[in-house]
């Protein structure tokens, strides 16, 4: 009970800060960076919901992001539909892909599953290049309309979506559903023996994860106003996993912080020019070594414990 209130307070504070930041520093570039970080947050949260909870690490999350983005691109340019159709369409397409890919691969163990998903993302990337006449090849699809013309408006929309999605997924994670997913991570065989339809839960969580990622992909397409095969790249999947690591695996809310932190870090490192990626990679190693539980979620839990203990002690 207590935890929940502190959690809500923390969430409210976070939303307030994020909403006020662009107003305090009315810098269009900063708003842009924050918008991108919010979209990455969406992707990280969706990854954590499936892979963090069930322990089946998905190294090909970029597949769902990419199909969402390309769906948006096609609908908007080739079929001339208004931008708002993209979001639901992207979610449906991504969900279909999740079913198509998930059903044969989810029965694979650990790294096999990770690498099977990685392979599908790479294959999609290649196919976009091979069928360049339909997909625009290396250059991709250009001239996509923005979802919301105003920079600030788009940012608030993205923030709202992030908050809504995170809240929903956290709620599911704390429900019996989430308990089952965590149990699958612990010992799948036992779950199966206990009569749970493990396959259903795994696939369902993948589908949800994919739908959110696809929606994020569509939003991204309508923000960048273009889609290219890079959106399927392995780097994209790895970046998201890193963000979840930094945020704290299986916490769902942690990855939001992880995403924002890492996007801002990348921006700050820009002044280091050529050394940027090197610093980034070394940071990754350090995090893996010294902070395997992540950073954001453990810190929050510590804060929560202190606040809870303090209030408890005062009784």
């Amino acid at each position: 009970m207590f935890d929940r209130r502190i959690d809500l307070a923390g969430a409210a504070l976070f939303v307030a800060v994020m909403a006020l930041l662009p107003l305090m520093f009315s810098n269009n570039y900063l708003i842009g960076v924050l918008t991108v970080s919010v979209i990455y947050g969406l992707w990280s949260v969706s990854w954590d919901f499936m892979s963090g909870l069930t322990g089946r690490e998905n190294f090909g999350h970029s597949l769902f992001i990419g199909v969402g983005a390309y769906t948006a691109g096609f609908l908007n340019t080739a079929w001339g539909l208004p931008a708002w159709w993209s979001l639901p369409a992207a979610m449906i397409v991504a969900a279909v892909f999740a079913l198509a890919v998930g059903i044969p691969t989810l029965r694979l163990k650990g790294p096999y599953f990770a690498l099977a998903m990685l392979s599908t993302a790479v294959i999609m990337q290649r196919l976009m290049l091979i069928f360049w006449e339909q997909t625009g090849g290396e250059e991709g699809i250009n001239g996509i309309e923005p979802l919301i013309r105003s920079q600030l408006g788009f940012y608030y929309f993205a923030l709202a979506v992030l908050v809504a999605v995170t809240a929903t997924l956290v709620a599911i994670a704390r429900s019996p559903w989430g308990l089952i997913l965590r149990a699958i991570r612990g010992d799948e065989a036992t779950c199966q023996a206990a009569g749970l339809n493990v396959t259903f839960y795994k696939i369902a969580s993948l589908v949800i994860s994919a739908a959110v990622a696809g929606a994020g992909g569509a939003m991204y397409a309508h923000y960048q106003l273009q889609v290219s095969p890079q959106v399927f790249a392995v780097v994209m999947s790895i970046t998201i996993i890193t963000m979840v690591y930094v945020g704290g695996m299986a916490s769902i809310y942690g990855p939001v912080g992880g995403a924002i932190l890492l996007v801002l870090l990348t921006e700050l490192l820009r002044s280091f020019g050529e050394w940027r990626l090197m610093i980034y990679s070394c940071t990754l190693i350090l995090i893996l070594f010294f902070l395997p539980e992540g950073f954001i979620a453990p810190v929050w839990r510590w804060i929560r414990a202190r606040l809870g203990a303090r209030d408890g002690a005062s009784r």
């Binding site: 269009n28 290049l129 360049w132 250009n142 001239g143 960048q224 106003l225 273009q226 020019g273």
Partner: protein, 408 residues
């Protein structure tokens, strides 16, 4: 009477007041935003060339009493990074003009963001015709886009087919050719035009293939070309591994000579860094150290003095772009906006590869009868990694020498 006097006094006061911030602005430097892949030769040369031009303009007092300064952001070859580069330069660095470009896909992705920022963009490296198409179709939003160089892929195709019909067929007597290129947008635009005009010029195109830009083993491809019966291979390469292509061609002594557009093959040290294995290849250059215009040789010499390198094609565009901008701004008495755009459209500037003028799509006009615009030069790599111009015949500096293992 007194009313008029009062009004005049008011007008005078107001204009003085308006002039004050203008005078204030006169101290502030004009910021040139350079967006280029800094890790590649084309990017390094763009920057050095812009710096060189800025120094020259500043030495003569700058533009409208203001000095020029350069801000560089890496656009890499990735559209997402490119978009970010534009946002950084326009929203945060608040530059007055943008110069740069290399990968057509990146530039295409950047266009809507450049348009939103209402900043003039002078392209120096990307060749796809799609880049300037919107200028005519949607002038109000896309009037900011100009291409100073290179001449677009369609014109390049035309020049290349001229090379095929008058040199490869006309002088070497070879009519069986193969066309091989990387699978990038500008090549996809260029190859159909090339194939059509080469065939119309009497060539027998035995094979056309676009390969994956990341390909690193060309032996199957080269073997296919050999089997097709082609005796000359026309290449269209920019991002692909030209180094490896040349090395593998040489190592297996494939019996066809090759030439065409090879951007990496334009690098001054291309031949040296692959151990001399590109000797025999003919690659297109937009300028070499020859008196193409009065500015060409002085530019090459000064660039070499400053950097120790021989400039690649983006350097020419970048240098000319800065001077064109400076001159147009002086005429328009403004560093941005519609007045400047109008003056830029009227540009007729003697640059490094030729006289630079823009057509109605703000695209640089190629050489034509009566207009000494930029054209193609086909230069061949020779022993000791020197280069000689082979085509056009008027500018030839040496006779063609086939690769050592190919009988003429």
């Amino acid at each position: 009477m007194s009313q008029r006097f009062a009004l005049a006094a008011l007008a005078a006061a107001l204009s003085l007041g308006a002039a004050a911030p203008l005078a204030f602005a006169q101290g502030k430097p004009i910021r040139i935003g350079v967006t280029t892949p800094i890790q590649l030769q084309v990017g390094r040369d763009t920057q050095d060339s812009v710096k060189m031009a800025i120094d020259e303009v500043n030495a003569k007092g700058g533009v409208l009493g203001r000095k020029l300064e350069m801000v560089v952001v890496d656009e890499t070859e990735n559209p997402e990074v490119g978009i970010n580069a534009i946002k950084k330069l326009t929203a945060e660095e608040k530059v007055d003009v943008l110069v740069g470009g290399y990968t057509s896909g990146v530039t295409l992705a950047q266009l809507p963001h450049i348009s939103n920022a209402k900043t003039i963009y002078l392209g120096v490296g990307a060749a796809s015709p799609s880049i300037t198409q919107k200028v005519k179709a949607d002038y109000a939003n896309y009037k900011y886009i100009f291409r100073v160089g290179p001449i677009h892929a369609g014109y390049q195709a035309r020049e290349l087919s001229g090379f095929i019909s008058s040199f490869v067929k006309g002088e070497l007597g070879i009519s069986k050719i193969a066309i091989v290129g990387e699978n990038a947008k500008w090549v996809q635009d260029l190859v159909p035009i090339l194939k059509k005009s080469a065939t119309e010029g009497g060539a027998d195109v035995r094979m056309t293939e676009l390969f994956d830009t990341q390909m690193s083993d060309f032996s199957p491809l080269l073997a296919k070309v050999k089997d097709s019966g082609a005796q000359y291979m026309i290449v269209v390469l920019s991002h692909a591994s030209s180094d490896v292509f040349a090395k593998q061609w040489h190592d297996a002594r494939f019996p066809m000579a090759y030439g065409g557009i090879d951007v990496k093959g334009m690098d001054g040290d291309f031949c040296d860094r692959i151990g001399g294995k590109s000797v025999g290849e003919i690659s297109a250059n937009f300028a070499v150290r020859a008196p193409i215009t009065p500015k060409t040789i002085p530019f090459f010499d000064e660039f070499k003095k400053r950097t120790g390198r021989s400039p690649v094609y983006t350097a020419f565009g970048a240098y000319d772009a800065i001077h064109i901008y400076a001159e147009a701004a002086a005429r328009a008495k403004s560093v941005e906006g519609d007045a400047l755009i109008k003056e830029l459209e009227k540009t007729s500037y003697v640059g490094i590869p030729g006289t630079i003028q823009f057509d109605e799509m703000h695209d640089v006009k190629p050489a034509a009868p009566g207009h000494k615009g930029p054209a193609f030069l086909m230069a061949q790599w020779r022993d000791k990694c020197t280069r000689e111009v082979i085509y056009p015949k008027a500018l030839r500096t040496a006779e063609y020498a086939p690769p050592a293992w190919i009988k003429k």
